[in-house]
């Protein structure tokens, strides 16, 4: 069934792709709208010699991932916004120990218990403050069921390559929706993990997985070294899709589910003769600033569209060096914007910013 188109939910496609990527351990906890991932893994993992375990809490789940990742296997957990807050402690520890692992956040509306409908209100959490301390995660934002599958594979590969945790930042729309998906052949990771705690067999000095440095100078050295690695990641990893941007007067930008709706609105604007385009970041960290920077000379205004009160817009302003107006349109609380609403925003900008 390798190349057959299959109709699957985003959550399930992601889970299947993770298994094919060699994920050996999945630890989860039920929370809407990501529970399908856990349910899928509970059926699939026992059939392929993998581990599925429903943890007692989100905190336990991420720490189980931490333990499994420390032994060098590919491990994953998934949750939705409130659960990811709970995981932030373990994510910070994994980052501090340079452990590759994958965390999936199928975002729902917050703050607090919020609601169960789709949202994109954890952009800051994913890209700025996934836990305490100085660190970053690789953050991928798929925009289709196919990308849910493709980018979880990439997340595992890049996490291993750079020895750092990676997050899939998605939302209830992509998790719950079905689309056709084609799975690629199982990947065969051959990354050498000689740092892992696997039992030293009396053949080497003991390996220690640790983020504790009681000497400030040592911790500083460790943090600086990690940021040097981040510089490499920033140079190598940014990924974005640019759509009709070359002659665009107005560039609308959004990620994940928002980007799909933005694309519809951009097409509608073009049909009316407004030169609109779209930039869709695929990596949220590192942010694909270059994709924006190269449009600043020709583009007259930007519109950032999110299912939030405005979080990614900060990065858009930085990427465009604030040289052009960057407007914001967002819905929050689980309300999903319509192409018509975004088109109306584009029309307004055309009127006000394009003389």
């Amino acid at each position: 069934m390798a190349n057959e188109r299959m109709l699957m939910k985003g959550n399930e496609a992601l889970a299947e792709a993770a298994v094919r990527a060699g994920c050996k351990c999945y630890f989860g906890y039920p929370i809407t709208p990501q529970t399908e991932i856990a349910a899928y893994m509970s059926k699939r993992m026992p059939k392929c010699g993998g581990v599925f375990l429903q943890a007692e809490s989100e905190i336990a789940a991420i720490n189980m991932v931490y333990g499994a990742a420390a032994t060098g296997v590919r491990a994953m957990t998934s949750s939705s916004s409130p659960g990811v807050s709970l995981k932030s402690e373990g994510i910070s520890y994994a980052a501090g120990c340079d452990l590759p692992c994958v965390i999936v956040n199928v975002q729902r509306a917050g703050p607090g218990l919020g609601g169960i409908q789709p949202a994109q209100n954890d952009y800051y959490l994913a890209t700025r403050a996934a836990g305490h301390g100085d660190f970053f995660l690789i953050v991928y934002a798929p925009s289709s069921v196919q990308e849910m599958a493709d980018y979880v594979v990439k997340a595992f590969d890049m996490a291993d390559k750079y020895r750092m945790p990676a997050m899939i930042l998605t939302d209830g729309v992509l998790g719950q929706m079905m689309e056709p998906v084609v799975f690629s052949d199982p990947s065969d990771s051959t990354v050498n993990k000689d740092w892992a705690a696997t039992g030293h067999k009396n053949e080497r000095k003991h390996n220690i997985i640790n983020s504790l440095y009681l000497q400030p100078e040592e911790l500083e050295k460790s943090n600086i070294a990690r940021y040097k690695k981040y510089d490499i990641v920033k140079a190598e990893l940014p990924e974005a899709e640019s759509y009709l941007t070359e002659d665009a007067d107005i560039i609308v930008t959004g990620y994940g589910a928002s980007a799909r709706i933005v694309r519809s609105a951009v097409n509608a604007a073009r049909a009316e003769g407004i030169k609109a385009g779209m930039i869709r970041p695929i990596t949220l960290w590192p942010f694909p600033a270059e994709a924006y920077a190269k449009t600043v000379d020709t583009c007259k205004a930007y519109l950032c569209v999110e299912l939030s009160m405005g979080q990614m817009i900060d990065d858009v302003k930085l990427a465009t060096s604030c040289r052009r107006p960057v407007r914001f349109f967002g819905r929050t609380g689980g309300v999903i914007h319509t192409p018509a609403e975004i088109l109306e925003q584009i029309r307004t900008i055309a009127k006000e910013e394009l003389k």
């Binding site: 050996k24 351990c25 630890f27 581990v51 375990l53 943890a55 007692e56 809490s57 905190i59 336990a60 789940a61 720490n63 189980m64 991932v65 931490y66 333990g67 499994a68 990742a69 420390a70 032994t71 296997v73 491990a75 402690e89 373990g90 520890y93 120990c97 705690a197 696997t198 039992g199 030293h200 067999k201 009396n202 053949e203 003991h206 390996n207 220690i208 997985i209 640790n210 983020s211 504790l212 009681l214």
Partner: protein
Amino acid sequence: MAIYQKPHALEDVSMHFCPGCTHGIVHRLVCEVIDEMGIEGDTIGICPVGCSVVSYDYFGCDMIEAAHGRAPAVATGVKRSRPDKFVFTYQGDGDLAAIGTCETVHAATRGENITIIFINNTIYGMTGGQMAPTTLPGQVTQTTPFGRDPKVAGYPVRICEMLSTLTGTAYAERVAVDSPAHINAAKKAIRKGFEVQKNEQGFSIIEVLSTCPTNWGMTPLESMERLRTEMIPYYPLGVYKDITAEK
């Protein structure tokens, strides 16, 4: 022929523990058991947050440092991904019985095939002597300056008794390290825990009543005396669960 030497599984480094602290004894017992079973190369240990936070430098096997209280969850991840390895956690009372109660109870009830070495010294050591979940009624600590008042601060928790009620717990024993006889018994219990794990019989916990002269404000000898006269009456020694004996 050497009649007494450092266990191989114990790294040849100086420890940071305070004078009179019993952590060193328990470290040694664990390492003697690892040596005697010949499993150092196949053992992965998990450190807690607390006084034994840097014990990854002392145990010679592969080691992982866990977040406060999460050691049983980390150990679960390790054991599930490497079921052929021996996995133990080494945790204090604040780590295991307060912030990590949830992880501890659920690892036990799952029958997770790991061994927990649980140090009960009735106080938070590393942070400077605050009330622990195991602090005795009336005991003065930095956060119970007038003595622990159960009306305000509740009662001390008896971990072995609690965990022994769970089906998944295979072996639970409380020991002490205040005398040569007790130390020998403690080592036997630790060995038993590792044997239970070897035989894939499930969750084992060895609770070790220990001393903290520094934060108790006592000499080492006075501390041993307090362990005997105050702790053991509240925390009786003995085997609380042993499925290998139930037949």
